[in-house]
Symmetry: C2
Subunit: 239 residues, 2 copies
């Protein structure tokens, strides 16, 4: 891999603290012992003694796992393994202002890929009710074409698509990605001046959903997102 983001490939030298180690050890422990959701962890003091660290350090490590939803603690009852919140860690970190440019671009592309890949699952799950709701969104949209409102409908329409997949993880993922997408688009607008829109409208996409096949929808979506894809292509040079 001669090219690539170094800071991603090379592991940064960061002073490893006890909490880091204990976090790792706890992970190993849970995996090794095949802990399942609901199983109770040893008491904090026991862990501290077993690992030969202060209870304080153990609590720091546990606090991390608790943040990710991996464990839950109750007084007297102790600490039990829980079903982690898969998107939690993602959500917490997704701030366009502190992410570097490359990562923002990567995430932007990720969303484009998702939109393009959506078609098949969409067609296999779509209901008449979904169509009706999309119909309503599109109808409201054509009435108010003012600039400030466009973004709202843009979001509404695409969010509804994700919702239709019946895939909660998916939907949540898109929600997390949304701020990044909006940020990148706005930055782009600042530079080039005007917002670009593809030839295919939401109305067209909806018609394709009703009458067409997945391939047709995908073709339409590609066109709908074409301004964004144009930009992605340009990046070919400096990868």
């Amino acid at each position: 891999m001669p090219n690539g983001n170094l800071s991603n490939d090379i592991r940064r030298i960061e002073s490893t603290t006890m909490a880091d180690i204990v976090e790792l050890r706890l992970r190993e422990f849970l995996k090794k012992k095949a802990f399942k959701p609901g199983d109770a962890l040893p008491k904090e003091i026991e862990l501290a003694e077993a690992l030969d660290v202060s209870r304080n350090v153990v609590r720091e490590a546990l606090s991390r796992l608790r943040m990710l939803g991996m464990i839950e603690s109750r007084k007297k009852r102790g600490t039990v393994l829980a079903e982690p919140d898969i998107m939690g860690g993602f959500e917490r970190v997704m701030d366009p202002l502190i992410l570097d440019q490359k990562t923002l671009q990567d995430l932007f592309e990720l969303r484009l890929v998702l939109e393009m890949g959506l078609a098949d699952i969409l067609f296999s799950r779509i209901t008449n009710k979904d169509i009706d709701q999309l119909e309503q969104i599109v109808e409201k949209e054509v009435n108010k074409i003012q600039q400030p409102f466009r973004l709202k409908f843009e979001v509404d329409f695409h969010s509804k698509l994700y919702l239709m997949t019946g895939n909660d993880t998916f939907q949540r993922f898109q929600n997390i990605l949304l701020p990044v997408f909006e940020y990148v688009v706005k930055e782009e607008q600042k530079l080039t001046g005007k917002a670009k829109v593809g030839k295919v409208t939401h109305r067209d996409l909806l018609d394709l959903l009703k009458k067409g096949k997945p391939e047709d929808f995908r073709k339409g979506m590609k066109e709908h997102l074409s301004p964004h894809f144009e930009r992605v292509k340009k990046r070919t040079i400096n990868r």
Copy 2:
């Protein structure tokens, strides 16, 4: 939303601890003050005093942010905002054994969607070198058709595709998703007995990459993944 996973929609009642609150407050603080990577945070004691909690609680909250790569601390120098590791939180939680069935299914679908959406970016970035390397993978594969080796080549081929996008985030994401994918496929095999394979092989996909257009490649990929899509369709009923 009359139907849906309740435990995802409703916020679980979890005894909020001081560490939870302080973590949130710190997040708000960093956002409000528009902290950028490299900026120094206040000292632990100052934070503790300002928030009227013990230094211990502050450290628990900081430890969480440190885990996500959001901050870095060095003795004497203090704590500074860092560029967070976007996939870190994700990675830590991605264990097929502790994730619930629904989430596993969701993630499985997510990967399918990624594969289907990949085509456009792939075609806009592909190089001759990439083709050569894929060629090598496919060649090795046709020689050894034994069952235990197939999974390895399956992974190699698809991983190379992600690598070709030049999108680090993307590639890492796929790596994290991989264990889930393998787990779900294996579970499926246990039930139905035999592994199903689509009619389109990696060889075919490679040819499409060389000669075809994004649409053709996508069509081929759909066929290649068809056994998986079959299963996804079945889920329509119980969503």
